[in-house]
């Protein structure tokens, strides 16, 4: 009912909407485009040679590798988890279903640093499971498992959030039809369910990747910042910045930005297909 009024109210000049649109563009330019452009401008401030030298630094390369590794572990797990949970919630009625929906949203509302601290207090040396882990010589905190766990926590809702509404909207008629035609469980999933949700799934996976690659707060708590071992790219950027290696920090940041931009482009492409 208000859509008409929003585009152009009778008796109102066209200047107002134009002004608002201009304002939106201006704000976007100031708050989003300018900082992004600044990253690249600073990264190349001392020329290509210095840029490449900064990127080729073994510690930066290791950080890029570690960040990629974390994403490669986290994203598939989240996809599997996301589908399973969305499937359970959309297709079945069981006690605690609403609670499960709420629980899955928790990582969205909790600051990642709190997630990091919780894991630390659980798995750390003084934590609940700490003594047991230490006795069995299992390293969780300040090692890859801790980083992966926290990243998983932070990114847990992304796939579910995209897939679940679609599954609920589509209903289960097609799946039921497949079952009556004699399809087995796996066949139903791979021939009917998966094709139906594939764009939402990809979209969720892309968002999940972007978040996993960029996660700072939670990882910062459990990483231990051991250079060349547990420093992810965002942490490496902070350390370089603290080392007064501003150009290097921006060079490393530019790689992260490129990843984010690629993800954005993929996301936009997916959106247009939905």
């Amino acid at each position: 009912m208000s859509t008409v009024a929003l585009t152009h109210a009778p008796g109102q000049s066209r200047a107002v909407p134009r002004l608002l649109i201009g304002l939106a563009f201006a704000l976007t330019a100031i708050f989003v485009v300018a900082p992004l452009a600044f990253i690249f401008w600073r990264a190349f401030a001392e020329g290509w040679a210095v840029y490449l030298k900064n990127i080729a630094d073994p510690l930066v390369l290791h950080a890029i590798w570690l960040t990629t590794l974390v994403a490669v572990i986290v994203v598939p797990v989240n996809i599997a988890f996301g589908i399973a949970v969305a499937w359970a919630i959309a297709r079945f009625r069981f006690p605690g279903r609403k609670l499960l929906m709420v629980l899955i949203e928790i990582p969205f509302s909790i600051s990642p640093i709190i997630a990091g601290i919780c894991y630390l207090l659980l798995y750390g040396r003084q934590g609940l499971l700490g003594p047991w882990l230490a006795a069995h010589d299992l390293k969780v905190m300040f090692a890859l498992p801790g980083i992966v766990l926290v990243t998983m926590f932070v990114t847990a809702p992304f796939v579910v959030r995209e897939v679940l509404p679609l599954m609920q909207a589509q209903g289960s008629e097609q799946e039921q039809a497949a079952v009556t035609l004699g399809a087995r469980g796996w066949q139903v999933f791979s021939r009917v369910t998966l094709p139906n949700i594939r764009w939402a799934l990809l979209y969720g996976a892309v968002l999940c990747t972007a978040r996993a690659v960029g996660e700072f707060g939670g990882v910062s708590v459990v990483s231990g910042s051991i250079r060349g071992q547990t420093n992810t790219l965002p942490l490496q950027i902070e350390l370089m910045f603290n080392d007064l290696n501003t150009t290097g920090a921006f060079a490393a940041a530019s790689t992260l930005t490129v990843i984010a931009l690629v993800v954005l482009v993929v996301k936009a492409a997916l959106e247009s297909r939905r």
Partner: protein, 332 residues
């Protein structure tokens, strides 16, 4: 030249971490701004260890705010040694049994192989003529330093200013509080950490003087060479220890007690001390100190023990909620 040095160090790190038999390995957990320092020191120690024992040693580095680092070690970060910039952070580890109770006596100079002091960095030509702490309380001088509530660096600045005022003729806790309050009142912005304060001063051109560790002032002056900042060491300042300790529990578990102990002892050797002096830290070795005397102006150093009666008292009387620091902040 620094970039080349970095490269050599990075190469050494890479080579050092390639798998080999009879590997010794230590994790040095350190404060956030010490990366270049240890990149310079570690290859030298690796050569020293090879010469002494015929074995290779890998040295891993972790850098972060030293309180955060202490916390991480309490939660299991497997540090073999700590090289911090706050004594209280080593005390925390000692209280939890990870570091020997008497760690201060385990090594010379209160287990601080090198030290520094709060000093000034002023703009080119020192236009405001800032020479000593008294200049900071002038109405026309804006000082920049990190928030003492969040930064160990800022805490030292606060304590040094307070100690200076207290030890002047007729100095009392009241005059000291008034003096520090005057400095605080002219601080245009309190950043949370030392690096942010540096950015405020050097890149945003705010303030007339940056207060930070002397070792830092010289490093920053070099980093921002074009701007021509000048390091100024006041006539009086506060001794800032850079304490080191073996994290005994971890070292025993990792079988690295021998190499960890040797690393810390080696920091007192003329070779290591020379590198420390090159990185603008004040040294304990007499010959090295004499060699670099021209770079380090004479300064009357007060200590936390003699002025404040120890770190515990500083904590209770100054830094605790509602303490003197809070009062000074409110009264500005």
């Amino acid at each position: 030249m620094t970039i080349r040095k970095l490269h050599v160090a990075a190469l050494a790190l890479m080579l050092g971490s390639s798998p080999a038999l009879a590997q010794d390995k230590i994790l040095n957990v350190s404060y956030d701004i010490a990366r270049e320092l240890f990149e310079a020191l570690n290859p030298e120690f690796q050569a020293h260890w090879k010469e002494k024992t015929g074995r290779d040693v890998t040295i891993d580095q972790s850098h972060g705010g030293s309180s955060k680092q202490a916390r991480a070690i309490l939660e299991g970060l497997p540090a073999d040694i700590v090289t911090f910039n706050q004594e209280t952070d080593v005390d925390v580890l000692a209280q939890n049994g990870l570091v020997a109770e008497n760690w201060r006596e385990a090594l010379p100079n209160g287990a601080s192989p090198y030290y520094s002091l709060p000093a000034f960095l002023v703009r080119k030509g020192n236009p405001k003529g800032i020479k000593d702490w008294s200049d900071l309380a002038r109405d026309d001088v804006q000082a920049v330093f990190p928030n003492p509530k969040t930064s160990g660096n800022g805490r030292y600045t606060y304590l040094a200013a307070y100690a200076y005022a207290l030890t002047q003729e007729g100095g009392t806790p009241e005059t000291a509080q008034e003096f520090v309050g005057k400095i605080f009142a002219n601080v245009p912005v309190f950043d949370t950490g030392g690096r942010a304060a540096t950015q405020t001063f050097a890149e945003r051109n705010i303030g007339d003087v940056l207060i930070t560790f002397e070792a830092e002032t010289k490093g920053i002056a070099k980093q921002y060479e074009v701007q021509g900042f000048e390091a100024v060491t006041p006539a009086t300042s506060l001794f800032a220890a850079f304490p080191v300790a073996v994290v005994a529990e971890n070292a025993e578990k990792n079988g690295s007690t021998e190499v960890s102990t040797e690393y810390l002892n080696w920091l007192y050797s003329p070779e290591a001390q020379d590198t420390l002096a090159e990185n603008h830290y004040r040294t304990t070795d007499e010959a090295v100190t004499a060699k670099y005397a021209a770079e380090f102006p004479e300064v009357k150093l007060l200590t936390v023990d003699e002025v404040f009666g120890g770190w515990q008292k500083v904590q209770d009387e100054h830094l605790a909620e509602g303490g003197i620091l809070d009062k000074v902040f409110v009264n500005q």
